[in-house]
Amino acid sequence: MLRTEVRNRASGGDARTGAIEVENVSKVFRTRLGAVAVEALRDVSVDILPGQFVSFVGPSGCGKSTLLKLIGGLIEPTSGRLTVGGLDVGGPRRDIGVMFQTPVLFPWRTVLENVLLPIEVFGLDRRIAIEKTRDILRLVGLEDRAGAYPRELSGGMQQRAALSRVLVIDPPIILMDEPFGALDEFTRERMNLELLRIWQEHGQTIIFVTHSIVEAVFLADRVVVMGTAPGRVLSIVDVPLPRPRSIELMKSPEFAATVFDVREYLGVAR
């Protein structure tokens, strides 16, 4: 079991609900007949403080997406305990925003209507939310594409719309499952910077799953390094880099050293 002491990096946000505790969690996927198909996670423990930006990094099949879904209450653990904001996770919660590798925008809705989807599902007043939605679209640089349909947007713009749909519900926790994995390198870098800017303004707790070590280190306060067969936590690496961060940071020896650290832990897994 690995548990790292955590520095308090809380930067606002909802301190009561923004903390996440994962204690000795295992997840086994079984076939219909009950035989063990995949041991997705074995005895994973991670503590995340409110307002922290934490990356999960690892090769395919290390269970990082599974862990994200467990925290989001989208699947149940086989054993172990998960709490969010001090409360046991017993299913999905409306104060957790989730972003996927694909933007999952509904093609029959405009950007604005897509962003308003959570408002509709929550049964809130759309008219009141519309002003806020426009502010969010301005924040992500989509203000003049509000009336466009998803197919009219580039991949980067689609993910911005997906991010807006998360932001519209003001979640203290955002779970991101390789959100920029399908984007080209330049767009991805720009999205990373924008995400950091938004996070620094709002101070949510963000869990960011990626298979890019560089992206994981660049964004996060801490990098949870995961390995395969079974999926498990190999190490948790603190990122001793100042904020706000810019692309130039990637030139620094500290950045290179941290990336190398993470890479070494991943190497041990092989």
Partner: protein
């Protein structure tokens, strides 16, 4: 200064209005050059008609076997001036549309229930597939026996034949919801009703419409086949009657009317499809 690009002329020296007037002829020329099918396809049709007419006039084929186009045209004129004709068209159209509407709605409902009740689907799906594969026209005589010579048996036939493609397309459409999309809805703690109306139903619509388009054409076939078996009214009845009377030119005329009727129905569905399922990818190829 003027430049040609892709058969379209740009003329910057003149006003845009005169430029478009000047280039209209050339634009047409350009279109024909780039898309020869636009002219060749109708031209081939005209040639075919002329050839067909000549074969008839030369006496190579007896008009009772293959009436020349001019004779078929006479037949059309006879049909459209006859006072009894409209009710036959109306009869067949009504059978088709009523059967299609009942069959389509019932099929969509069954598809929805099947997707939402897995056990029900497991039990029913084999029957649906079996019926889908069966050539439904074999049922026509039985339906006449059960529901009589009137409009009812034709409607039932139209329902039977238009039902199954829509069931299958509804099931396939509702089940084509992407994993991430349903995860998104679940993460928002959406109710079953919300997941259905906001996600599953719109996701399924393109597939359902594809099924409905097939079904409408099939419903017309069903109505006609049932009329062939026995009926007092309808375009199918006209075809059998005129065939017995060896008025082949009238048979051809009715066939043309049937084709136009089918085409019109399909056109309306195609229009509705484009309006309702405006986001379907294949619509944006241009």
């Amino acid at each position: 200064m003027s430049a040609r690009l892709d058969g379209v002329e740009f003329d910057s020296s003149k006003g845009s209005r005169s430029a478009s007037r000047v280039s209209a002829g050339r634009r047409l020329y350009g279109v024909l050059q780039n898309h020869p099918g636009v002219i060749l396809s109708p031209l081939s049709f005209v040639l075919l008609l002329v050839l067909w007419e000549l074969v008839g006039r030369a006496g190579l084929v007896a008009p009772i076997v293959l009436p020349p186009p001019s004779r078929v045209w006479d037949g059309l004129v006879i049909l459209f001036t006859a006072p009894w004709f409209p009710q036959h068209v109306w009869f067949t159209a009504a059978e088709t549309l009523i059967g299609f509407a009942i069959g389509g709605v019932a099929a969509i409902l069954l598809g929805i229930v099947m997707v939402n009740v897995p056990l029900f689907k497991e039990v029913v799906y084999p029957y649906v597939v079996a019926f889908q594969v069966m050539p439904k026209v074999v049922l026509a005589p039985i339906f006449i026996t059960w529901f009589g010579f009137g409009i009812e048996s034709k409607i039932v036939m139209a329902i039977a034949i238009s039902f199954f493609p829509v069931v299958i397309n509804t099931v396939v459409g509702l089940e084509s919801v992407e994993e991430d999309a349903s995860l998104l809805m679940r993460s928002l703690v959406a109710s079953r009703r919300q997941i259905f109306w906001k996600l599953a139903w719109p996701t399924a619509l393109p597939s359902i419409f594809a099924g409905l388009k097939t079904s409408l054409t099939l419903a017309l076939i069903g109505a006609l086949v049932a009329e062939f078996v026995t009926a007092k009214e309808g375009l199918g009845t006209l075809i059998t009657t005129f065939s017995f009377e060896l008025k082949v030119y009238l048979v051809f005329a009715v066939i043309i009317v049937v084709s136009v009727l089918g085409l019109a129905m399909y056109g309306i569905m195609e229009y509705l499809d484009r309006k309702v399922v405006f986001w379907r990818r294949s619509h944006f190829t241009g």
